[in-house]
Structure formats: C-alpha cells, structure tokens
C-alpha cells in the first residue's frame, strides 16, 4: 500500500478484505452464457461497423474492414469458446449407448484391418491388379504406355516410342511387391519398401493418393491419416515406365476418447477427484496424472491429488491393433473445506441461534453414513456440549439445557469416522456474539 492508512482505516481495510463469498455454480453458468452471447454480439458489432464504412467511404474499404473484422473475431477467444461447447455436446452424444456400440464396431474393424498380416494380404490383393495391367501394357503397342509416364513431357514420349519395343523385350525390369512396415495407426509413420533388379540408370517414382512425391529411394516413409492411403511405385527406365506396384493402407477411424472430472465433495477425501473416461465400453484406459502413470487403469478412477493445483491429466487408450488415442486436459483441484460460520448469536431472535459447521449437515456428508461427534469446549478446555448427531447443533448453553454461555470464543472439535474406519479430526473456533 502506498497510502498511509490510519489505524481506523487499517481496521476497516482488514475487515473488508477478509470477507468471503462462496463460489456459486449458477454464476459461472451465467458467465458462460454471457461469454457465448458476447462473442456473438461483438462479432455482429464489428461487421456492422464495417458495414457503416461501406456506406460512408467505398466498397474497397468495406472489404478490407470486413476482412479485419473476420480476423478479429477469429482471434477472439470467445469464438473458440463456442467451439469448445460444440465439442462438449459431441462428446455427450458419443456417450449415448447406441453410439457406443458403433464405436466398438470401429475398434473391431481396426483389429481386422490393422494387424500386420492382414495388411499384407490386402496389399497382395490390391497389387495384383497393377501387375496384370503392367503385363498387358507390355503386350500392347507403345502408344498405350504413354498413359503411365506421368512425369515426362509429350515430346519425350514421342522420341522414346522408337526405342521402346527393343528395350522391353531385352531387359525385363521388375519391381518387387511393396512391403509395409510400422504400426498402421493414424498419425504413425510407416515405411513402404520395394526393390528392382537393375542398376542406377532406373528411377523410382512414388505416388501417394495420386500425387507424385519428391522422394525416389527404394524406401518411402509416410505419416498415416484416417481412411485409405494408396501408395504406388513406378519404375522408370530410359524415360519409360517399365513396372509399377500399388498397395492400399487402411486406417480405421480411431476411437475418440475423452474424460470428465469431479472434485469429490467428501470430507474424508481432501483433494481427491473422480476421473471418468468415455466411451464407457472400452477397458484398459491409461491415466497419466502430473506426468506419472497411474497404477489404476479403470474407466472411472479416484485419484488423490494431495493439494490444490492445476494438473495435466492425459487419458490414453491402446486398441488391440496397438493404435493409441489420447487426450490431455487440465484438472483444477480446488477442494478446500470452509466451515463458514464462525460466530452465532443465541439471543432468541430466530437468526443464527445454533451452531454446527455447515459441511457436516450437507448431503455430501450425511449420505456417507459416517460416525460423527462434535464437542464444544470453552477457553479452559472444559467440555460444554457434546453430541453424536448432526441434527443436534449447539444452542449456546451448557449441555444444551443449562445457562446461556457468556459471549466469547469457544472451541469446537469434530471427529468423523467413515464406515471403512477412516478417522478425521477437525478443530476450529466459534464465537458467541450478540446478546
């Protein structure tokens, strides 16, 4: 503080600074709605402003301003916020039971199509037809071969036509079948290999889904995406295609996984949270919490975070084919018990007449069916009141029926014991105020 406060001002400052407000989910819900709307209005607003420019200046200016407006809104976090929400609804849809069955169908598909042996079968089958094609090409006159020479210009082809018949018959250059090695999963890199039986004067061209690649070694490495990837190798000798092989690699759509978390509002578990993975139908999830792999690999786990913080949690799932899906999200552990009431006024005015720390009358505690004992002690440590029921709060009197205790500070101690025998103690102070 740069202001030098008087004693009185300091007292006011301290008092006002100590006020606590309980977080309300309803306020956050409202905020989210406002963030959504605000995003819409600010977008709309900027476009409207841009529209005003059109009227006053010129259409060229309009388009510049409009583009800027678009850029602005694209950068705005609020717009992305909306996207996040969309994802959230998608995820909810995914949890719908009928969709779960589709998801598991997909995982079966992966099993069938992604095991290395079956890949090779697929490859064999698909490369069979190009071989036939090449053979038939060899038997037909030169002009039909032109189709296969993709990289060469028309002039070269016409020149080459003259040499062709002799070349093909004299040197039968062959490409070996394409082999695929590596994990056939989305995002993984696989190696495709072939060999040919001629020297350095032959050139190998690679095509992926019809596009020519710069690479021309006997091994090609590609990163796989969802769906079908067709890889074709063409061998060029004396500027002519002399052989070609093709293989198709299928990557079934990966399983999309997600998780949600719940800060457990159970007084026995400080800073524990429940993590819930979806879809539910899968097993063998892996949880990486704060860079450590959890020993627990269930679909729903309870993790002791130990203290407040924001933790990066990664959920991973490995399909039977060995494909890994993963998602990482922050988990905010907030749980911090506040007992709120630290004073009451047993003066018969009907307000704040009795005392019991709120958290223990909350459903989150009473539902546990745990043992409860509250003792009230005065400053000398003498027992004033004791109860084993959350329904019998202290009314400010000795044993709840004697004389009203004088104003001042008292100590409350609470012992709770869960059904499993977990014991916890709480000790705080409470004041009797008013008259």
């Amino acid at each position: 503080m740069k202001n030098k406060l008087t004693q009185e001002e300091q007292a006011l400052h301290n008092k006002l600074d100590s006020v606590e407000f309980n977080y309300q989910d309803a306020h956050w819900a409202e905020m989210q709605e406002m963030l959504g709307k605000k995003g819409f209005f600010s977008k709309y607003g900027t476009v409207m402003k841009a529209a005003a420019v059109v009227v006053s200046i010129s259409s060229i200016v309009y388009w510049m301003a409009y583009d800027e407006a678009k850029l602005d809104t694209a950068k705005s976090p609020i717009v992305e916020q909306v996207k996040v929400d969309e994802n959230a609804t998608q995820n909810i849809i995914k949890e719908n039971p009928t969709n779960i069955s589709t998801t598991s169908d997909i995982s079966k598909e992966i099993r069938v199509e992604e095991t290395p042996s079956s890949v090779q079968k697929t490859e064999g089958a698909s490369s069979a037809s190009p071989i036939k094609k090449v053979k038939s090409t060899n038997n037909t006159p030169a002009d039909s071969r032109e189709e296969n020479v993709i990289a060469t210009s028309p002039e070269e082809i016409t020149v080459n036509k003259k040499d062709k018949p002799s070349n093909i018959t004299s040197t039968p250059i062959k490409l070996s079948d394409l082999t695929v090695s590596g994990k056939v999963c989305k995002g993984e890199t696989v190696a495709i290999e072939t060999n040919f039986n001629t020297g350095n004067d032959a050139e190998l061209l690679w095509f992926v889904n019809g596009s020519k690649l710069a690479s021309n070694g006997t091994q090609l490495k590609i990163e796989l995406t969802d769906g079908k990837t067709v890889v074709k190798a063409k061998l060029i000798h004396n500027k002519k295609v002399v052989d070609e092989k093709e293989t198709s690699i299928f990557v079934a759509q990966g399983v999309e996984i997600d998780f949600r978390y719940n800060d457990l509002t159970n007084v026995f578990y400080d800073f524990h949270a429940e993590l819930n993975a979806s879809p539910k139908g899968l097993n063998n999830y892996q949880w990486i919490i704060d860079k450590k792999l959890s020993a627990d690999n269930g679909q729903q786990i309870t993790h002791p975070f130990g203290k407040k913080g924001i933790y990066d949690v990664t959920l991973m799932h490995t399909s039977e084919a060995g494909c890994i899906s993963k998602t990482t999200k922050p988990v905010a552990i907030e749980q911090d018990f506040k007992f709120f009431d630290n004073a009451f006024s047993p003066n018969g005015d009907g307000m704040h007449e009795t005392f019991i720390p709120k958290i223990f009358t909350d459903k989150s505690f009473t539902d546990l069916g745990a043992d409860f004992q509250m003792s009230i002690l005065d400053q000398n440590g003498d027992l004033i009141y004791q109860t084993n029921s959350v329904n019998d709060p202290w009314n400010g009197r000795k044993n709840n029926n004697g004389a009203l205790m004088p104003k001042g500070t008292y100590i409350w101690k609470i012992k709770i014991q869960s059904k499993k025998g977990v014991v916890k103690y709480f000790t705080e102070r409470v004041k009797i105020v008013g008259s």
């Binding site: 202001n3 009185e8 407000f21 609020i78 905010a332």
Partner: protein, 188 residues
C-alpha cells in the same frame, strides 16, 4: 491452483487466452471470493455487485492475452475490476436525484465511543453499511482505503478536486461509524 506459482499462472493465462472453458472456470473460481468482495464495495446493492463482477470478468477474459506477467495476475484482475467499478460510478452518478454536496455528513457527538467499534460487527454487516453510503462516498472510500488509490488519482478518476476527495473520505468514515454505532446500540 496457486496464483503465486508462475508456471501455473502461465498455464491459466494461456488456457484462458485460447478461450478454454476449463481454464476460465479455474480462474473465475479462484478469484470469485476476492473479486466479489471488491465489487460489493462499489455497488449500490448486492445485485449490482454481481453484475459488476460478471462484467468485470468478461473484460478479464477478453483482455487476458494482453497480460504481460509483470506483477501478479490477481492484482491485474483486481485493477480491471476496480476500473470497471469506476466506470459504473461514472455512468450512475447522474442517476441519483440528489447532489452529493447535499448529502449531510453525520456528526458524531462527544460521548460516542468509537474505539474498536469495527471489531464488534461482522465483515458482511460492514459491507452492507458500505453499500448504504452515497455513491461518491462509497467510491472514494473504497478506492482510498481498499484499493490504494491516492487522492490525486481519485481526483483524476472521479473528476473532483483532491480536497473533495479527502473530505469525502472523512465524511464516508464518519457516516460508517454512525451506522455501526446505531447498529450496536440496537443490538444491546
């Protein structure tokens, strides 16, 4: 979440800047109690405090990518909240039928014992009294006592003289004391 831990602050700021709801909520939740307290001190009534708080947080989320990590995030958020509250004061000052100069500062009589009276009431009760102050008194009081604005800064923000700021502060305190004294008398 620990807002004094730079790594966590970075995570939060980056997450919020990307508009990620989880991070926004984490920050919102973390600062809820403190910032609601700030807004209460400037508002006419509890509903206005909530609106000020929500408006302020929208500004926080809109501006967070500009946070430069000099100074604490909490302090930065608080400045946005206070600025928002000053705007609220400026917008509303003409809404009231009375002029501030006509608000009579309560006089304390000689026999009124004011030592330690602030200890006798709850913080929430004190907040209610703050809301009962006139808008100008309340705003000057909060800016000076809680948010560390100097009289020079207050005079600039509220477009009043430094002298007015000082006298408003002492009138605000006197009125507060009067309210507390009456409250305590009624309780007895």
């Amino acid at each position: 979440m620990d807002l004094t831990n730079q790594t966590e602050v970075r995570k939060i700021v980056e997450g919020c800047a990307k508009g990620k709801s989880e991070y926004q909520q984490a920050l919102y939740k973390q600062l809820y109690s403190k910032m609601m307290g700030v807004c209460y001190r400037y508002a006419n009534r509890p509903e206005d405090a909530k609106d000020l708080f929500q408006e302020g947080f929208i500004k926080v989320f809109q501006k967070i990518e500009k946070f430069n990590f000099n100074g604490s995030l909490e302090g930065w958020v608080r400045r946005i909240m206070v600025n928002n509250a000053i705007d609220y004061y400026r917008k509303n000052k003409n809404k009231y039928a009375f002029s501030e100069s006509l608000v009579e500062a309560e006089r304390l009589s000689e026999e009124d014992e004011t030592d330690g009276i602030f200890e006798g009431i709850s913080a929430k009760q004190l907040l209610e009294f703050i809301q009962e102050l006139s808008p100008m008194y309340r705003t000057v009081f909060s800016l000076y006592v809680l948010d560390d604005y100097s009289h020079a800064e207050i005079s600039e923000e509220l477009n009043i003289s430094e002298g007015t700021s000082k006298s408003n502060l002492s009138k605000a305190k006197r009125n507060l004391k009067k309210m507390i004294l009456e409250h305590l008398k009624n309780e007895k």
